[in-house]
């Protein structure tokens, strides 16, 4: 740990992993809140507004923690990765700066209006504010994924005489072939988090016999959105994204799959522990020929194994890469199973009495978080040893003048700060869930009463 490189890598890994726990829920909830606001306008039923208001509270807390933990991200390119920033700033700072210019301004302005301005705006404009918050958060996601896509698959640049990369094509940066599938994959992952959190809260309300009307609404919305997202995530999105990795980062692909020796009719590994020294898997459970079929759509196609790539091209943390990928895929399969069964029972009108399944729904909310985190670990560990794939190695990217001791100092600082933040977050969210959508009604009644001039003195006297 006396190498600044290791500390800088841990620094970024820790802060980004913690940060992304929050945006994945805000991006996932935003479209669901828009759906509630739309239903409220369309069906003219107040309960949808109450549902939207409740989730806006959860959204607001999440958004705050996302902003708090997000500010360090943009800064870390300069603070801890100065050589990479200098190398790539001419290209990827475009998308990073555009996130500020287009998404953050939009999001932050309309979030203020959405959370605090319902009365001042009226129903239609308030719907508009909700929609703009959704648009802002999804746009923000696009610019970040486009930035990462360039690091995964650099396009639209030229290396000039000073050795740094310069932008040559704005549109190829923005519409990098990598970005489409990766963005969809990421956003569906976020929707899964939103959907599972919503149905978990709903299941809790139904099981606890508390505000059950809202509980059922949340389950219906969460399960429906969850099923659509889970199914689309597997096919076509996950499938296409994996094929892209196989095409552009074949060594990464082999390492992800735990596929060491080149073979025809290669099997796909479901479970097994990689033994890197002997290049085998312990206790494997495999489906014969499946990897060949999924990758090349032919059962007997040849799939190149990790051994056929030069050692210096291998990702540097093979077990982590292998496990994170398999955890993501395994959980993704589980999401399809849970939401499909729940949707079926919902359709047969049996779900709200199937307590065993409600328990499962309630307890599954951590899994999309794990799957999203594991997915990003797969992408970023898989990109190693490069910081921008094929262009600049991670070991050449960190800040030359920041010592390991100073980086460690701030890493420990962030760990302490984030521990406090995490505890506070759980406390605040638990309170909101405990209050539920109903409590907002009584608060509103109070606010209405205090707006009424006659009753005001009485309230003040309390």
């Amino acid at each position: 740990m006396d190498s600044a490189l290791i500390v800088d890598r841990l620094h970024f890994a820790f802060t980004i992993t913690f940060h992304y726990l929050f945006p994945q829920l805000t991006m996932g909830l935003a479209p669901l809140i828009v759906i509630f606001k739309t239903l409220a306008l369309w069906k003219k039923e107040e309960r949808y507004n109450k549902a939207a208001r409740f989730w806006a509270k959860i959204f607001g807390i999440n958004f705050l923690f996302g902003v708090i933990t997000g500010i360090p991200m943009e800064f870390q390119f300069g603070t801890n990765w100065a050589q990479f920033a200098r190398y790539s700033g001419g290209v990827i700072a475009t998308t990073l700066a555009m996130e500020g210019g287009f998404a953050f301004f939009l999001e932050s302005s309309f979030l203020g209006l959405f959370l605090l301005g319902e009365r001042r705006l009226g129903p239609k404009w308030h719907w508009f504010a909700a929609f703009m918050v959704f648009a802002g958060s999804w746009l923000s996601g696009y610019f970040i994924v486009a930035t990462d896509a360039w690091m995964q698959h650099p396009v639209g640049y030229a290396i000039k005489e000073d050795g740094a990369a310069y932008l040559t094509s704005f549109w190829s940066l923005l519409f990098n072939p990598w970005v489409g599938w990766q963005y969809l994959h990421n956003m569906l992952g976020a929707v899964l988090t939103g959907a599972f959190v919503m149905s978990a809260v709903g299941a809790f309300y139904v099981l606890a016999r508390k505000q059950e009307e809202f509980g059922r609404l949340f389950i219906r919305t969460g399960v429906t959105a969850g099923l659509i997202a889970a199914a689309a995530q597997a096919f076509p999105v996950g499938d296409a994204h994996t094929k892209m990795v196989a095409d552009y980062q074949p060594a990464t692909f082999a390492a992800m799959e735990g596929h060491y020796k080149t073979e025809t009719g290669a099997p796909i590994v479901l479970v097994g522990q990689p033994d890197i020294a002997n290049q085998t898997l312990d206790n494997p459970i495999v489906i014969p020929r499946m990897l060949s079929f999924l990758t090349h759509r032919r059962w007997d196609a040849e799939v190149k194994g990790l051994n056929d790539f030069p050692r210096d091209q291998w990702p540097d943390n093979l077990p982590l890469l292998y496990y994170s990928y398999h955890i993501m895929v395994g959980l993704g399969t589980m999401f399809i199973a849970i939401t499909a069964v729940a949707a079926f029972l919902l359709w047969r009108r049996k779900l709200f009495n199937a307590h065993w399944l409600l328990w499962i729904l309630m307890l599954s909310f951590p899994f999309p978080y794990i799957a999203n985190t594991a997915g990003w670990i797969t992408a970023e560990v898989g990109r190693q040893p490069w910081v921008a794939f094929g262009l600049i190695r991670t070991e050449h990217g960190f800040s030359p003048t920041v010592s390991a001791g100073n980086a460690m100092f701030t890493l420990i600082g962030f760990m302490g700060m984030y521990l406090v933040l995490g505890v506070l977050f759980l406390f605040l969210i638990a309170r909101e869930i405990d209050h539920g959508p109903k409590i907002l009604e009584s608060q509103e009644a109070l606010a209405m009463a205090s707006n009424h001039p006659v009753e005001q003195p009485a309230l003040k006297g309390e």
Partner: protein, 347 residues
Amino acid sequence: MATLWFILVAFMLAVYVVLDGFDLGAGIIHTLAAKTNEERRQILKAIGPVWDGNEVWLIAAGGALYFAFPLLYASSFSGFYLPLMMVLWLLMLRAMGIELRSHVDHPMWRSFYDFMFSAASLLLAIFYGAAIGNVVRGVPLNADGYFFEALWTTFTITDRPGILDWYTVLTGVVALVTLTTHGAHFIATKTDGDVNLRARRIAGVGSVALIAATALSLVATLYVRPQMLDNYRMHPWGAVFPIIVVASLGAMQYFRARQRDFAAFLSSTGYILGMLCGAAFGLYPYLLPARADDTHSLTIYNTATGGYGMAVGLAWWVVGIILAAGYFTYLYRAFRGKVTLEEGQGY
């Protein structure tokens, strides 16, 4: 083109200081101007809908800096590593102070976050001032364009200075006085009753202190970096910035005496713009002067990105800034007028 981006980045930073400056100032005077829970809620409601959007200007300016001058971004962010990380922590604590205070209805909970909000705002103002001081004074850049500064050394200005020496502490104090006054003008504009009276009193004292602080910082700056005058000698039209500063200081006194809170707030906005533009004008074309060897200095010429990137950037930047100006107009219009506690959710 590089000059244009120098102006644009400086413009974004100036907008940031003006906008987030008033909510930082509101934080500094939070516990002084507002004593009861209701009064403190008035202050939070005044900045509540806008502080986050204001802070986005910092992120956007940081992004634009990274985009237009990658080497400057890489060099300064790694060189100012420790103070920048502390600024990040302070921004985090401050956001928690504003947003979490009203989540639990208990006096201990509230006083904790009141203190956090206030202390973080105060320290941030000093840090920002010290940051400007560091840029003006110059940093120990090496031949590769990198440097690293410790937090403090001997408080004298040497060729290997720390973040804090007597000059940067002075600029930190100037920033503190500036933003306190700026925030007090804003809170006076947005509130009535006792908060308004106390904010006016703070603004009154601050406006006078600001005159002394400005004079002191001017003398000190010319001592630390006499080259700041070169551009003013070559291009006398630059005198417009000091004139704006002096006129704003005068206008602030005039409007303060007549209790015209909003006009006084606009005067302090003018003061901040005049000071920042004056400093940027004096620095140009330097972005980060080297302390010992001037050939190591970072200028707009040796740090700028390619011409294509800057040209494309200009196109989307203009679109983005027009949109942002639209949102901000809409946002500030929706929450215009004095704050009332009864209405709406939050804080």
